[in-house]
Every structure is written in structure tokens, then in C-alpha cells.
Symmetry: C2
Subunit: 190 residues, 2 copies
């Protein structure tokens, strides 16, 4: 077996994905271990086999997995984009669609990387690394589209900051338009 070449979800992956969803819905402390295990259909023993440090380990794995998913969406949005604004717009629309699928109730997948649990510094460091990966990915597309390295990094930060806040507002209002309106907010009328 050479790792993740097969397609059916392994126990470990099912655990991570279920945990990701529940952490996003209820927060780190709000999502009970037994609830996660029950929904994933995995016994306690397996959890502590794959994640020796238990819940905290699982949360970090969930954050990492989430960051990779976000990066995948960024890739999908910018790969064929003719310019920066188009990439941002596509991303926002994709995420607005996700927002609607998620019942409009979940925390922002990106923000959700920052857990509020104990072990503050471990979670903070994990979130910082994930954020940087996300911003760096967006910045790379900025450079590809003609921006200077500094300008690209700045544009990527502004983009992610704006997205963050937009998701929060969208969540309190249960309306995804806020997300779709972000490009206009950031860059003016098209």
C-alpha cells in the first residue's frame, strides 16, 4: 500500500472530515468527541491510534485538511482567470454556493482554522501556518497575473481579510449575497 492512492475514505479520513464539519458547526469545545466518533462510525480506540494526542491532534489535522480544500478552490478559481478580479469573483461565487449548501449556519471554513480551545498557542501556530499557505497561494496567482510580488501579497491579504469578514456577516444574516458582493466592495463597480 503506497499511501492515499485508493479512493474509498479511510477511517482516518472519515474522522478528519466529520470532525471538520462538527468543529465548524459547534466550535472546538462544542463538538463532543463521542459525537464525532458516532457520526464518523469510528470507535474511540481508532481515534487514539491515529491521533495519539486525541482531540487536539484531530483538530490540527482538520485545520490542515481545511486549508488544503480552500487552496484547491483558489486553484480552481484562478487557474483560468484572465485577471485578478475575475479570480476573486469566481472564488467568492464558489464559496457562496458552498455557504448555501452548508445551511448558512457554519463558521467560515478559513476562520474556522482558528480554534478557540485550550492549548491556545498550538492552535494559533497551526492557524497561522494555514493562513500563510492560503495567502501565499493567492499571491502566486497575483504574480502570474502581472502584479509585483509585494503588490500580489498585499492584494491576497486584502482579499482574504475581506472574505473573512464577509462570511461572518453573511452568516449572521443567513444570506450569501454578502459574499457575492465582495469584489464590488473591494474593487468598485465592474
Amino acid at each position: 500500500m503506497l499511501g492515499a492512492m485508493t479512493e474509498e475514505p479511510t477511517t482516518r479520513d472519515r474522522l478528519i472530515q466529520t470532525a471538520t464539519r462538527l468543529f465548524r458547526q459547534r466550535g472546538y469545545e462544542g463538538a463532543g468527541l463521542s459525537e464525532i466518533l458516532a457520526e464518523a462510525g469510528v470507535p474511540k480506540g481508532s481515534l487514539y491510534h491515529h491521533f495519539p494526542d486525541g482531540k487536539a491532534d484531530l483538530a490540527c489535522a482538520a485545520a490542515d485538511w481545511t486549508a488544503s480544500e480552500i487552496i484547491r478552490v483558489i486553484d480552481d478559481s484562478f487557474r483560468a482567470a484572465p485577471d485578478w478580479r475575475h479570480g476573486v469573483t469566481t472564488f467568492c461565487y464558489k464559496m457562496a454556493k458552498l455557504f448555501d449548501i452548508l445551511n448558512s449556519a457554519d463558521a467560515c471554513p478559513i476562520f474556522g482554522l482558528l480554534f478557540d480551545g485550550p492549548d491556545q498557542d498550538r492552535f494559533r501556530a497551526q492557524a497561522e501556518q494555514s493562513f500563510d499557505r492560503i495567502i501565499a497561494t493567492a499571491a502566486r496567482y497575483g504574480e502570474t497575473l502581472g502584479l509585483s510580488p509585494a503588490a500580489a501579497h498585499d492584494a491576497a491579504e486584502t482579499f482574504i481579510i475581506g472574505f473573512q469578514g464577509s462570511w461572518t456577516l453573511a452568516r449572521t444574516r443567513r444570506k450569501s449575497d454578502v459574499l457575492r458582493g465582495l469584489p464590488k466592495r473591494l474593487y468598485g463597480p465592474a
Copy 2:
């Protein structure tokens, strides 16, 4: 006794303020009731006298109190501002100072209004109302400073959205510059 005319903090107020801080630091589920009570120096009985529905009631009161505090800072920032950008800048600097005082570890006071606990809809509705109060306050200053009602509301939303995201990024990096850099990000070089 005619309500809140005296100055020394009542049991109820001590409870709200302690709860606000702990919710901000550890989230709704993360902040234990006994911890809140111990730090506030208040017994269980008093809590359930003032807040019959317990933790959920307390959380809503905390959200409300926080919104009022934010509005106070908005007032202080915009009252004497010569234009919109100055108001936003002053607000960002005041909040950056607060961020540093808070050890750079707490959740955004505004975002923190949105609790991740159970009773989702009650908390969501409470947060929506508080957000609207905050945005409406900022928008009013926008109008005073010459913007049309629609433009003022839009500017206020953009401002709060940007602030939200900036605090999050500042928190993961433990650096308050992100907050101070928001006006330039939103409105270009001064």
C-alpha cells in the same frame, strides 16, 4: 433605587463583564460556568436569579453589552472626525490599542457576538441585531459626513467587514499592525 444610577458595579454587571471576557477568550462552550462565577465572585444562585435561562441568557446579555461598548468606541472615533476616513482610522487605532492590551489572544469583540453554542438561532438573531446596531451607528456618521444614506450604509458595512477580517488575521499573527493598516487597505494611500 432608580436602576443604574450608582457607579459601583452591581453583581449583575460584574457577571456580564467577566462572562464577556471569558467568552471572548475561550468561546461559549469553552468558558465554564463555574469559572465565570469564580472569577466574578458570584454564587450560582445569583446567576440564576438574574438570568433565569442560565448560560444562554448570560451570553446574550454579554453580546448586548459588547455591542454597546463597540458603539461607544465608534462614537468616540467619529464624533470629531473631519471625514469618514479619519473616523475609520481613529477607530482602527483605538481597537489596535485594545488588541495589544488584550494580549493579542482574544477573539474579535464584534465577531465574538456570534456564539458557536447550541440554541443557534437565538444566538444568531442576537448577533444580527447587534451587528445591525453597530453598522447603523457607523452609517449615521457617514451621513453626517456627507454621504448619501445608501452610500453611508454600504461604507459602514465595508468598514465592519474589513475590521472583522483584520482582527482575525491580527490574532493569528499576534500583531496589531494589520488593524492599523486597514484604512490604507480600504481607501488607498493617505
